[in-house]
Point group: C2
């Protein structure tokens, strides 16, 4: 959304100045000074992220999940296959690529379910969630700094992993809700 | 999780050194050099966040939502009431406080639904999601740099807001799934 369009909303915060703080391999950080709707100023800490994808992939009625160490949380988590967009890559291509790299499963097709901001208070990251039940097994090719193991979960196993706290991230919980709703009603989105 | 415990998992990444980059009002940023499971090293960009809460609050069968400008995304979004934890504050107290400050509604009680990491690849933020259908209307008291309007949505209006892209963040989509499942089956979690 451009600034003119943004400024047309009564709650819009227009940028007065932006200070770059950090530019890294995955994210960058900037501090913006903004004009509030009442004319006062405030600062906003903003993390820039290239965007991400996740895939709810079903094979023989089981959900494909990866266990992986998450350094920010200092723990392993069981998540749906996911990753960030490469430069110029479409979300759909990224979904197919991440599924295959992380799990070895190749999808014949994927269907877009939802796109959502993960932390709208401080980050611009948008994650695109896809669904497929059209997959064939193959060989894993994870990134060189990525260590993960693949698990295929029945609905009961997935629900237990949620209760036990092994599944504990937003995108995987959204995938579990989508899968549950799908089993109950045939719909994947609320 | 302490380092010894973390190091006990075969995928654990142990910290070699940490460089603080930024410390702000809402987040801080650090870069850690880590030892990978195969002995090589890698860097991890880590955003530290105090944690957050969100509330799926129903009043007369309608969901309480707030429209607010999200500077990182340069747009207004329709979200469930939410906010970050104050120092030393319990998630439950924060949920009650944010609901009342942002919407004026006071909850007699809240029920914990789910806690999840929002962006486990680069942030340690955990959001605690609560449910209540025990609320009484009152007056809004938003933060001084917060401008928002309150809407009460029927299920149909909420589903339309999702389709139209007005609802576009992870916690609010999780709340919509929980509410839908609740109407279909009486359960709030998958």
């Amino acid at each position: 959304m451009n600034e003119e369009k943004a400024a047309s909303h009564p709650f819009a915060e227009t940028t007065i100045s932006t200070q770059p703080v950090f530019s890294g391999r995955m994210i960058s950080l900037e501090i913006s000074t903004v004009r509030l709707p009442d004319g006062r100023t405030a600062t906003r800490e903003i993390v820039r992220h290239p965007g991400a994808v996740g895939v709810l992939a079903l094979h023989g009625g089981r959900m494909i999940a990866v266990e992986q160490y998450r350094k920010p949380l200092e723990r392993v988590q069981l998540e749906i296959p996911a990753g960030k967009l490469d430069p110029g890559e479409s979300p759909e291509a990224a979904a197919l690529r991440e599924l295959e790299e992380e799990t070895g499963f190749r999808a014949g097709s994927v269907r877009h379910l939802l796109s959502f901001s993960t932390s709208p208070g401080f980050a611009d990251e948008v994650l695109h969630l896809y669904f497929t039940d059209d997959v064939t097994p193959g060989g894993q090719r994870p990134d060189e700094d990525e260590f993960l193991s693949v698990e295929l979960l029945t609905p009961e196993e997935a629900e237990r992993a949620l209760r036990d706290g092994r599944i504990c991230d937003a995108k995987t919980m959204l995938a579990l809700y989508a899968w549950k709703l799908y089993r109950l009603s045939g719909a994947l989105t609320p």
